[in-house]
């Protein structure tokens, strides 16, 4: 992207405001925040306490609900971070002090010695091989050993060794060992390394110190630390991981045997005010336990691993989580609604026994050969100290205090927070908050955008036209992801025999920093002019390798990938020989293709520096204000005549903040903002163009030019019609309400509420059913908060909540506890046994079975409240079609990647926020809107952005001017030149989709580097071996 100085903004303040930001914590949240900021014109100092960035996510094997390999999706971000010109990575560092005001802070950072010169270290590993001192490997949660000189993990960024001063023999007794220094081929060892102090001038700070898994050793009844085959979930991640202590073969830590029967015990260290001292829910454990059960079953050699999850409430409240849960259950993972008091030895083989009781109270015994404790998340001691140094307040649970309406702001102005340090949360939520924090950190520094940044210079590109192909092939082992199935050595040897190939080599992780650096070196040294990487998917990794080519002075389109992982080793696990042959075929095809590749121009388009935000609810308004405050003009379009959306119906947030006051001030800001053009009563009629240059036509005929779009059209609510299975008298009896209707009464201060004697709430009305298989996420918390409000109005009111699972995730659990403490009674029901609602003379009767005492309970409420589902809007389909966005089967919009791109669409320049993505409460909606604005700011802060290079080209000799191409082009990129009557392609608008190529009846249009000759060459070479 172009890094020219932005001409916008208040240049008068430039001298006062810093253009740099400090990000503390190098986990996924810190990394995402750093990337967003660095990509939108700010210089970032990223401080990480350990020797490498990556955080907790780098220790995970797979991630839910997509089952992506965690390291694989994380690695490109880490590498990008490590290579980013505008990110100053400070590892082994900690914040010492923070002084000053927003816009001009002074931070002191202490960097501890690495004792290895990062400029010299080539990560060859000889030092660690020879180092005589074995140390417990904390990255493997203590399950394995590393050396005193170590690499944190194989894909570590920076990929540099470090000496553990606590254990190094030399550093403790100089003169005693020094083996690493003797064997290091690049003389990188420096025993005299000293701590250094960095004084950083910055304008804002983002805290992302992450979490620590709860240590269950103080809970003796879990058996942890006492019985060898009781492990924590984080340890189990390492046991599953290919880079873990048993290379992904899933062994019991004690005897190395493959477990056949595993139990997961939920809520260890969460929702426990007794000895764990953590009243909150850790939010992620239910899902990671299901994921681990599913993955463990895939790992097991026999495939019939017996997996049981013992839980209290199943909390699968996120996008696609409930479906994941249902799928796991139908595939054979067993779910027991029972908590286990103690894990006991079962006698032989160090197996384990549990005694448990289902809701029926019947005692059962079951033996397992491994027990996994689903440990919760807590604030690390170091982060507590960090918060003190940064001067931000902590709550009673020791998490950093935020405000529901400013979800990433801390108690100190100019200091922001993201990730699990503010409350336990999953990766998508952390990534969302990271972008939100980046937005907030950058918003106050907008005048200083591009002030402190550096500009990327590439070496001039070598002219390859005159050269014969000199192809280099890099075959990746991907740890064991590929190498455990495919014979990578054989593939590498085979590649050497292919025409044009002058070099082929095998790498453990081709995407790791050292391999990338070495690849650049190799390209230059060997004079390569084309490159093939046989590894994973171009979807995540192509940009990284293409960048490497550019750095080496080669046009980035002289590159092909062969996907020998996703499309080979992963799908042919049981046929290694055939998989190896297939890998050879794929490499041969890629080589054939790359031989014909030509260098392409790097097109770019000028960016229209304005945004269109669709939907003026809290999400849309927040996004609009976030962009407008940075000086970007925004058109905010609302279909209805009034703005405010769903929020107009809400009484208060779960933290107790009145929504209407907040909403009024937000509406006011929107209406009076000089950079916001509010258009009500209109909607989108058509869209053309692409990122940087959209043209949108509204129903009132207005034509808007804008560079980005944020879709925030909200959602609707399910109305339980009385003919369905939800025969709950809704619309028939005046005392039956939905949650939002009851909120209306609270807002109106309806005095009749305090006279109510008994209220019944029914949860999950319309959610978690086959026709709407998702959890609506917000209703448990909302309903419980309403029940508490009713108790405030009338403490004597009897309140019953009929629920399936209570999902007050994170610190919302506090409300659930408070509700119980106030005598609100919770009765569980199943989908197979719904509560029955009847009416006698206007009086409501609700009958439900209490599973604990196995008795029918008949309730006689004066008011029945239904927690109805959040339902996607039907008319979102049109909008999605205009912007070419995907919609999931459940009707919610589909983001680019569920885990790491939660506010982007697959279509560039379009972002989403709020309920149209998935049901979520106000604080998360605001964070997501800020995140969408952050992502949009990256585009808007550029003067021009890269455009597609693989564009269509017309051979005018063959073109008949029939105009079929103009009909089929979805981007309005093709037109018929009036003078020549031939088709012409507007390269700036062409997305290279190929529709015109397929549509052309005269074979006159081709895509660059995808001409018939090249495709035929690929096809023919596939046939070679057949």
């Amino acid at each position: 992207m172009s890094n020219k100085k932005n001409q916008q903004g208040n240049t008068g303040a430039l001298s006062e405001v810093s253009g740099s930001v400090l990000v503390v914590g190098g986990g996924i949240a810190g990394v995402q925040a750093a990337l967003d900021l660095a990509d939108s014109g700010f210089y970032v100092h990223l401080v990480e306490k350990s020797a490498a960035i990556g955080g907790g996510m780098s220790q995970l094997d797979k991630t839910f609900p997509t089952n992506d390999c965690s390291a694989c999706i994380l690695s490109p971000k880490l590498v990008e971070c490590g290579r980013h010109l505008n990110i100053n990575l400070l590892t082994l560092s900690e914040l010492v002090s923070l002084e000053g005001e927003p816009g001009s802070f002074k931070a002191v950072v202490k960097q501890n010695p690495r004792y290895v010169d990062p400029d010299k270290c080539i990560a060859c590993g000889t030092c660690a091989e020879k180092c005589p001192k074995k140390v417990v490997n904390e990255f493997d949660m203590g399950l394995g050993k590393r050396k005193a000189i170590y690499l944190k993990y194989p894909q570590a960024v920076p990929l540099k060794y470090a000496i553990d001063a606590e254990h190094c023999i030399w550093l403790n007794k100089p003169g005693r060992c020094g083996m690493c220094e003797k064997v290091c081929p690049s003389k990188a060892i420096n025993f005299d390394d000293k701590p250094t102090e960095h004084v950083l001038e910055i304008g804002s700070v983002i805290m992302a110190p992450g979490f620590k898994p709860f240590d269950p050793s103080k809970l003796d009844y879990t058996g942890y630390g006492r019985l060898p085959n009781v492990v924590t979930s984080m340890e189990f991640e390492r046991l599953l991981s290919p880079s873990g202590p048993c290379m992904g073969h899933m062994e019991r830590p004690f005897d190395g045997k493959e477990p056949k029967k595993i139990a997961w015990l939920q809520c260890v260290g969460s929702r426990d005010i007794n000895r764990a001292c953590h009243g909150y829910c850790s939010s992620v454990c239910c899902m990671y336990a299901i994921k681990q059960a599913v993955i463990a079953r895939e790992h097991s050699e026999s495939g019939d691993l017996d997996a049981s999850i013992f839980f209290m409430d199943m909390r699968t409240h996120g996008k696609e989580f409930e479906e994941y849960y249902n799928r796991a259950a139908s595939e054979g993972v067993k779910f027991h609604r029972a908590r286990i008091h103690s894990v006991l030895p079962s006698g032989e083989n160090d197996n384990l026994r549990v005694r448990y009781a289902g809701e029926d109270g019947e005692i059962r015994y079951e033996d397992f050969d491994l027990v996994v404790l689903s440990v919760g998340l807590e604030m690390p001691q170091q982060a507590i100290e960090l918060a003190a140094k940064a001067g931000v307040s902590l709550d009673a649970d020791k998490f950093i205090v935020t405000d529901p309406f400013k979800p990433v702001s801390t108690s100190r102005n100019g200091v922001f927070v993201c990730g699990a340090a503010a409350e336990p949360k999953d990766i998508p939520q952390s990534v969302m908050e990271a972008s939100a924090a980046a937005l907030e950190a950058g918003r106050i520094l907008a005048p200083a955008r591009w002030k402190d940044t550096k500009k990327k210079e590439y070496p001039p590109e070598k002219n390859v036209y005159s050269e014969p192909p000199r192809i280099g092939v890099f075959v990746c082992s991907c740890g064991i992801n590929i190498a455990s199935v495919v014979d990578v050595e054989a593939v590498t040897e085979y590649a050497k025999t292919l025409p044009g190939v002058v070099l082929a080599q095998n790498n453990l992780f081709t995407c790791s920093q050292d391999t990338i650096d070495q690849m650049e070196e190799t390209i230059r040294r060997e004079g390569l002019n084309r490159v093939v990487v046989a590894s994973c998917t171009p979807r995540t990794h192509e940009p990284l390798f293409q960048e490497t080519l550019r750095n080496a002075g080669i046009n980035k389109y002289l590159f092909e990938m062969a996907n020998i992982r996703d499309q080979d080793s992963w799908v042919h696990q049981n046929e290694p020989e055939a998989a190896t042959e297939k890998a050879k075929d794929l490499v041969r095809v890629a080589v054939a293709k790359v031989r014909g590749d030509a260098p392409l121009p790097y097109n770019s388009v000028k960016v229209t520096k304005s945004a269109l935000v669709i939907g003026a609810g809290v999400a849309g308004m927040t996004a609009a204000v976030s962009l407008a405050d940075q000086g970007f003009p925004v058109t905010l379009v609302e279909r209805k005549d009034d703005i405010g959306g769903h929020a107009r119906k809400f009484y208060r947030t779960w933290q107790g903040n009145p929504v209407q006051d907040y909403l009024a001030s937000l509406v006011d800001t929107v209406k009076s903002h000089e950079n916001i053009d509010l258009k009500c009563g209109v909607s989108v009629k058509g869209v053309s163009g692409s990122v940087g240059n959209f043209t949108t036509v509204l129903t009132d005929g207005t034509e808007l030019k804008h560079g980005v779009s944020i879709i925030a059209v909200g959602a609707g609510s399910f109305k339980p019609d009385s003919d369905s299975r939800w025969n709950y008298l809704y619309g028939k009896n005046p005392n039956v309400h939905t949650l939002l209707e009851l909120d209306q009464k609270f807002i109106a201060e309806d005095s009749s509420l305090s006279g109510i004697n008994q209220t019944v709430f029914i949860h999950c009305v319309g959610s978690r059913v086959p026709e709407r298989p998702y959890c609506s996420r917000v209703c448990c918390t909302h309903a419980i908060d309403q029940a508490l409000k009713l108790k405030e109005l009338n403490p004597d009111m009897d309140i019953f909540m009929l629920y399936r699972d209570i999902r007050t995730y994170g610190q919302r659990e506090r409300l659930y506890q408070e509700a119980r403490a106030k005598g609100i009674i919770f009765i569980r029901y199943d989908l197979e046994n719904l509560p029955a609602v009847t009416e006698e003379g206007g009086n409501i009767k609700v009958t439900v079975k209490d599973p604990i005492i196995d008795a029918e309970v008949e309730l006689n409420p004066d008011m029945l409240v239904l927690a109805t589902a959040v339902r996607p809007k039907v008319d979102v389909h049109d909008l999605a079609k205009f912007f070419k966005c995907s919609i999931r089967a459940d009707g919610f919009l589909m983001e680019a990647h569920m885990k790491l791109r939660p506010v982007d669409f697959a279509t560039d320049g379009i972002f989403l926020a709020g309920l149209c993505h998935y049901p979520k409460p106000m604080d998360e909606t605001i964070a997501q809107a800020q995140a969408a604005a952050s992502r949009a700011s990256i585009v808007l802060s550029q003067d021009e952005i890269p455009a597609e290079s693989i564009t269509a080209q017309v051979d005018p000799r063959k073109c008949t001017g029939c105009a079929v191409c103009t009909e089929v082009c979805a981007y309005n990129a093709v037109s018929i030149d009036e003078a020549t009557e031939k088709a012409v392609v507007n390269e700036a608008m062409c997305k290279g989709c190929g529709a015109c190529v397929a549509g052309c009846r005269s074979d006159a249009i081709t895509l660059k580097n995808m001409g018939n000759e090249q495709i035929m060459a690929e096809l023919e070479t596939i046939m070679d071996n057949w």
Binding site: L219, Y221, C267, R271, D272, I273, N274, R275, A276, M312, R337, A338, R339, I340, H341, S342, V354, R355, Y356, A357, G358, E359, G361, E362, I363, N757, Q758, D798, F800, Q817, R820, A821, K822, G823, I825, F826, R828, T847, D850, I852, I853, D854, A855, E856, V857, E858, L859, N860
Partner: protein
């Protein structure tokens, strides 16, 4: 477990309220019905009851069911449920209250009798003089028959001794020779110790009968006696 439908117009939870007043930090309402207590309680299932059902009945106001269950004599008030309970609910504490609420004539006879005897002197009801005599007699026998223990001591009411030792009433009553090993150990350790001739019984069945005033009385008797001896340590033998 309930024979008929439980109809709730106005929830009445008298017993629960009583418990909440009697027990600080009762946390009854906090119950998550997670079943951890049931899983860990050896009395689960006895009399068709378990700690979770017990709490549920309290919460739902099924007082009669609770007032009549004999499960309160199978729950040993051992606190293993509370040990792991995420909400730190001590079911045993409520069982204690219920035991106390049961009319004396409906209580298990021998349990109440043990406490009544303890309130008089000791749980087996042997006269204090007999205890003193038995101790002396057994000591005499050891000194005579075992020359290496000729200087063995078993002091009673020795003021200013460093240690006071209590004695479960079972031994002096039915197996007096079982007292000897401990005397020998104390002797070998060179300990200056003493028994008391009253309130010497180390057991305390009034902890189980359910009347706090009885329990308090027995402990107070002991404490006063021990302090009167002027010892520094009160050794409990079990």
């Amino acid at each position: 477990m309930l024979e008929q439908k439980l109809e709730i117009r106005k929830l009445r939870t008298k017993l629960k309220q009583h418990m909440q007043e009697a027990v600080p930090d009762a946390h009854i309402d906090y119950c998550l019905t997670c079943g951890m207590c049931v899983s860990g309680c050896p009395a689960s299932g006895i009399e068709d009851m378990d700690p979770r059902k017990f709490l549920r009945l309290l919460v739902l106001g099924q007082d009669e069911k609770l007032l009549e269950t004999d499960w309160i004599y199978s729950c040993t008030m051992c606190q293993r449920c509370e040990y792991a309970c995420p909400m730190k609910i001590n079911v045993g504490r409520f069982v204690y209250e219920l035991r106390g609420m049961r009319p004396k004539d409906k209580r298990p006879k021998n349990l109440q009798r043990s406490c009544d005897l303890q309130k008089e002197s000791n749980s087996t009801g042997i006269p204090n003089d007999d205890f003193v005599w038995v101790v002396g007699d057994v000591l005499e026998e050891v000194r005579e028959n075992e020359p290496e223990w000729a200087d063995l001591q078993a002091p009673i009411d020795k003021k200013g001794a460093e240690f006071y030792l209590n004695q479960n009433a079972k031994e002096p009553t039915v197996e007096p020779e079982e007292m000897v090993p401990l005397w020998k150990i104390l002797h070998a350790a060179g300990v200056d110790w003493t028994y008391s001739s009253k309130w010497w019984d180390g057991a305390n069945y009034c902890l189980f009968s359910g009347d706090p005033e009885d329990w308090e009385k027995t402990v107070r008797n002991q404490a006063e006696t021990v302090d009167a001896l002027g010892v520094r340590y009160y050794i409990n033998t079990e």
